[in-house]
């Protein structure tokens, strides 16, 4: 008996059990999956975009073609066999255009595509394809701006009402009710914009193109509102009660406290909500496809059609030849979108949440 009650370092050691060990390792392994997925998304979206930058052989071809041109140019001036004898190597090396294999042709195309990326004309399907990203980029920016200009005030003010002015019973109903809007599929919002909102706004403002950046922006604000609302509401209700009590004790009334104390204290959280709302709108595909008109025009007029980056991928990816230049350019756009949303999230996560915590913890 005495032996049983004596604890040694050996007896206190955790007993090794295979099932426990395996369970822990298995669960840990699965948990790493989410990190793995992010890495894989990075790798595979870039992997399909990278062939676009393989243009090495294009240079050789260009040199060869130049040589050929020079040769052809020389021909009329040549007399008899003298030139042929003078440069026999060049002439025998003259490649016939159809002799290039697919890889080389692709690389020549890539080189042309890369040159056109920095222009404003998006004409991927034509004899002389142009992949200018600027009109797409500004189109996306225009729609995003309109959407955020509508969604941010509505979402933030509604959140302020919910957290500061609404009685508890109303808050319990309001929050889930507005979150239901987040559950509306974007294709339903897009359909509503396409069938109802577009005609309504056209009657109201009387502009020419029925589907345009404005309609798309308003529709997308419906997708951004629940995000901005929810995160702002969380930020507002996480402001310590001591802030409000101090303000009320100093003689400020209810709305003054809400507007001048609670709201400023939650600014980092509100910024985060706007960033995440922006990220959502920037990458929104179905609403853009259905409500913006999809014409790649570069103009500042909000009532003109636009084509967004995400909509371009959505509309064209199903129709491209796998592996050609157009396919790679679409993946390049995808990679840009991914980097953008990743950056937005990282910014919201680390910079702003860090500041919020610091502020509430009293530095």
């Amino acid at each position: 008996m005495a032996e049983n009650t004596r604890f040694t370092a050996e007896s206190l050691k955790k007993k090794f059990r295979l099932s426990e060990f395996l369970a822990e390792k298995f669960i840990t392994g699965i948990a790493f999956l989410s990190i793995t997925i992010i890495v894989l998304i990075f790798v595979f979206v870039f992997r399909e975009a990278i062939p676009l930058f393989r243009t090495g052989k294009a240079k050789e071809v260009a040199v060869k073609e130049q040589v050929t041109k020079i040769n052809e140019g020389l021909k009329p001036e040549s007399y008899g066999d003298t030139v042929n004898q003078a440069s026999p190597v060049v002439v025998t090396n003259k490649p016939a255009p159809q002799a290039y294999d697919e890889d080389v042709i692709r690389q020549v195309e890539n080189k042309k595509a890369l040159k056109t990326l920095n222009t404003a004309t998006w004409q991927p399907v034509s004899d002389n394809p142009r992949y200018g990203l600027w009109s797409l980029f500004f189109g996306t920016l225009k729609v995003t701006l309109i959407a955020i200009l509508i969604a941010a005030p509505l979402g933030i003010l509604a959140a302020l009402f919910t957290s500061a002015f609404a009685p508890t019973w109303l808050r319990e109903i309001l929050k889930p009710a507005i979150e239901l809007l987040a559950g509306f599929p974007s294709v339903v919002i897009g359909f509503f914009a396409l069938m109802v909102m577009a005609s309504f706004f056209q009657d109201l403002f009387g502009y020419a193109s029925r589907l345009n950046a404005f309609v798309g922006g308003v529709a997308m604000s419906l997708a951004a509102i629940p995000i901005i609302y929810t995160i702002t509401e969380d930020a507002l209700s996480s402001v310590p009660a001591t802030y409000k009590e101090a303000s009320l004790a100093l003689g400020a009334n209810h709305w003054q406290t809400a507007f001048f104390v609670t709201l400023p204290a939650a600014t980092p959280g509100i910024f985060a909500s706007i960033l995440l709302g922006t990220g959502r709108v920037f990458g929104e595909t179905m609403i853009a496809l259905m409500a913006t008109g999809n014409a790649a025009l570069l103009s500042a007029n909000p009532f003109e059609s636009v084509r967004t980056l995400a909509a371009t991928i959505g509309a064209e990816m199903a129709e491209v030849v796998y592996g050609d230049t157009h396919y790679s350019v679409l993946f390049l756009i995808g990679a840009l979108l991914f980097i953008f949303s990743f950056g937005m999230n990282a910014l919201a996560e680390f910079y702003i949440k860090g500041r919020l915590m610091k502020r509430f913890m009293g530095r």
């Binding site: 699965i30 997925i37 002015f165 609404a166 239901l180 339903v188 995400a310 990816m317 949303s341």
Partner: protein
């Protein structure tokens, strides 16, 4: 004088914020009402259970409903176990402030904000072009079976998209299992894994259910990831194997309202399809939100 001015300003601020809430609720109501009124006439049992006819200008949407159900089922089979296990790791094994837990949490939140079209690109680049084409080359001697868009790859793509939804719900409910229960189980001599199996998991069934319902609601409505991973314009037969293409409600709405030749003629069908999709996601989300608010109440 000053006091009345302050009062007016206060009323104005409360009025404006209240108005914002009304506007948002109003928009939700308008969308619901418009879709219900527009789709009511076409909506019937027959519409739900019959195939499209005459180049999709008549008939029902049964294949699209079938495809959607199949999609969310396969998606759930993949997303729910993995999501639950990740949540288990985060609540039971990981130390709250370790860099591993922080990185995993960051990865989950990133997954939640990546645009859905990127998941589509990933599904195409990874599942179809890499895994699928690789399988074809390795086992089928290059015959094209898995290396093209199909319902399996579409569902798996969708499961990545809905993984964060599951993880967040399950984790939330696992935290409501009282610490004392875990300690009591451990004190009685149960091991950690036994405690998880017998105490933590049964205690978080409602969370797993909520996560699954919300994930299904999300997955049923997303279209962007399916655009080039397997959704089809029209199929005369239902998908019978995992490497078949399929029809899906959201894509059906998109195609009918933008790509079809006779948009006006099929308008009632479009509205009715939208009504079906909206009802489906709305009911699922409603159940999910109610269940979640119950879990949150337990938390307090």
């Amino acid at each position: 004088m000053m006091k009345t001015f302050t009062k007016i300003k206060g009323a104005l601020i409360i009025g404006i914020t209240g108005l914002s809430v009304m506007v948002i609720l109003g928009i939700i109501a308008i969308i619901l009402v418009v879709v219900i009124i527009g789709g009511k006439s076409q909506f019937s049992w027959e519409f739900l259970t019959s195939f499209p006819q005459d180049g999709m200008t008549k008939g029902g949407i049964f294949p699209a409903i079938y495809g959607t159900v199949l999609l969310v089922l396969i998606m759930s089979v993949a997303a729910v176990p993995f999501g639950t296990i990740t949540a288990l790791y985060l609540t039971e094994y990981a130390k709250e402030n370790s860099w591993i837990a922080k990185t995993i949490r960051f990865a989950i939140r990133t997954l939640a904000v990546v645009p859905s079209i990127i998941f589509g690109l990933f599904g195409l680049g990874f599942f179809i072009k890499f895994v699928g084409a690789g399988m074809d080359n390795a086992f089928l001697g290059g015959r094209l079976v898995w290396g093209q868009p199909n319902i399996l790859w579409a569902s798996l793509t969708m499961s990545l998209l809905t993984l964060p939804v599951v993880i967040v719900s399950v984790e939330e409910s696992m935290k409501t299992v009282p610490r004392e229960l875990r300690e009591a189980s451990l004190a009685l001599g149960a091991t950690k894994w036994q405690t998880i199996r017998k105490v933590v998991l049964p205690g978080s069934v409602s969370g797993i259910l909520t996560g699954s319902i919300l994930a299904v609601g999300r997955g049923a409505g997303e279209v962007a990831p399916l655009l080039f991973t397997g959704a089809a314009y029209y199929l005369a037969t239902l998908p019978s194997t995992l490497h078949d293409q399929f029809m899906v409600l959201g894509y059906h709405i998109y195609i009918m309202s933008t790509q079809s030749a006779n948009v006006d003629q099929t308008l009632p069908i479009q509205f009715a399809t939208t009504l079906v999709l909206l009802l489906l996601t709305f009911i699922l989300n409603l159940i999910g939100v109610v269940l979640r608010s119950q879990i949150r109440r337990k938390q307090k």
